[in-house]
Amino acid sequence: MADFEPTIIAFVCNWCTYTAADLAGTSRLTYPRNVRLIRVMCTGMVDPQYVVKAFLAGADAVLVSGCHPGDCHYINGNFKARRRIKLLKEILPRFGFDEGRLRLTWIGASEGVDFAHTMTQLVDEVRALGPNDVRSQMVL
């Protein structure tokens, strides 16, 4: 498993976590290349279907990350996202998905250090979990 490189899909909001990723870059912080960022305007627009698709297409983990509670630029999109992730966490583990493969975090625009740290930690944890079964078992 030493050479297993996980693929992680991260839905990040334009205003907070994406900006934090930018800050991490301009601050020359490094984090593993396993994370593929998908910028969305708000975590509140992440249809749970997108997360399902990412997993079925072979993602080893999915991260949804937005503004801290109270900081959402659309007032409450992050609260809606939290309910959707809760819903996914009820459904996906019933079909054998490890709950640790789905994360929701709040990373603010100024938290470039936190962003790089969270990504590094997430990649380590998912590497320890091993590949998502879907990769070997799905024939779509």
Partner: protein
């Protein structure tokens, strides 16, 4: 205190008396129409009909052990804009619960409808009902009632009522303005009508039935039925959870699905005008298929089968009432309702929600609280 009245049954034929009751409901002049399932004149198929002429109720039979579709969507269509008058709709308990969900999703309104719920001993699938009834209409229904009520058998030849009905823990209507009681009632002598709301009471007063009391046997009969159904349901939950406990098993479970999407069309709470699975997003490029196939050397076609079912689960399971029309509509006997109802039990529990329980409860994905589900974000708010 709910107001209870009785319909006298003559010649041991509760259907004739029920038709008489519907006729008198229309004749009160309070209703613009009455929606009720009827045996159609052209063929022995039971379909919801909208009746405005009290003389056109000869085929009315809400007790026939079949419902070809969940009529909640039709009631939604009738009530989505003002009618400037009331209609009544005679529905099964699961149809009322689905309608409550649709109202909360802004797909119908309770303002101008009198919901008439009927105790439901269950129904056969659309395939099995004709085998049970043949050309018999009312007689088949009376035969079914004769054996099904009060703990009797619903089995016929090699089949029984549908799995959804066997696992249904809500055989008695809730949220109905008027409810018609069969369980624990001697239906050869009388039927019990309960007015649960002011709206129901107003119209019941105008029909002028004699007052009655709830038969002593009713509570026990309902409790026994619910206990039997709940035990069946819990076994179904266990078996389904086991049969789908990893992605390979889920693949097997859904293997005979041909992506016809009938389950979605038949689903009373799947209300999107344009389902995402019919949009351009799923008009994959031809080269995309080849590229997917190359990944493993083989690609099952049609694609997106598991994706479709998982998407329906995330989109609709919190509104699932377990009516079983998905399975009824499936041409390939995929056990869809088993999967949906099982997952719905988990998702609805997670939000302390129950589909169809109350018009006042907000659908869980339309609301939120500032501090909740700390486990989702690793203990941090």
């Amino acid at each position: 205190m709910a107001k209870i009245a009785k319909i006298e049954v003559t010649d041991s034929n509760p259907l004739t008396s029920l038709k008489g009751f519907f006729k008198s409901l229309l004749e009160t002049g309070e209703l613009k129409g009455l929606m009720v399932p009827q045996h159609l004149p052209m063929k022995n198929v039971v379909m919801p009909t909208l009746v405005t002429d009290p003389e056109k109720l000869e085929g009315a039979d809400p007790l026939a052990p079949v419902f070809p579709l969940n009529a909640a969507k039709l009631v939604g269509r009738l009530t989505r804009k003002p009618l400037h008058g009331s209609v009544a709709a005679v529905l099964r308990p699961c149809e009322i619960r689905a309608f409550i969900e649709l109202v909360k999703l802004k797909q119908g309104s309770m303002e101008e409808v009198v919901l008439v719920g009927v105790d439901c001993p269950g129904a056969y699938s659309n395939v099995n009902y004709p085998r049970f009834a043949g050309e018999n209409r009312d007689d088949a229904t009376l035969k079914f009632l004769g054996s099904a009520l009060d703990g009797g058998s619903t089995a016929f030849e090699d089949f029984d009522i549908s799995t959804a009905c066997m696992a249904c823990e809500h055989p008695v209507p809730r949220n109905a303005d008027l409810s018609i009681g069969l369980f624990g009632v001697d239906v050869n002598k009388e039927l019990i009508i309960t007015a649960n709301t002011d709206k129901g009471e107003d119209i019941l007063d105008k029909v002028g039935l004699s007052a009655a009391e709830e038969p002593g046997a009713r509570e026990g009969a309902i409790a026994a039925l619910v206990e039997k159904r709940t035990a069946y349901r819990d076994r179904m939950f266990e078996e389904t959870s086991e049969a789908t406990s990893d992605i390979e098993k889920l693949n097997n479970y859904l293997a005979s699905c041909v992506n016809c999407y009938n389950c979605r069309v038949a689903c009373p709470v799947c209300y999107c005008r344009e389902c995402v699975f019919l949009t351009d997003a799923f008009d994959h490029e031809p080269v995309q298929y080849l590229s997917w196939a190359k990944g493993k050397g083989m690609l099952k076609m049609p694609t997106d089968t598991v994706f479709f079912h998982l998407t329906r689960l995330v989109h609709m399971s919190t509104a699932c009432v377990g009516c079983g029309q998905c399975s009824n509509a499936c041409p390939n006997n995929v056990p869809v309702v088993e999967l949906f109802k099982t997952l719905a039990s988990y998702t609805q529990k997670a939000f302390a929600y129950e589909a169809g329980r109350s018009p006042e409860e907000e659908p869980p994905l339309s609301v939120f609280h500032e501090a909740e589900f700390p486990e989702v974000t690793g203990g941090k708010h």
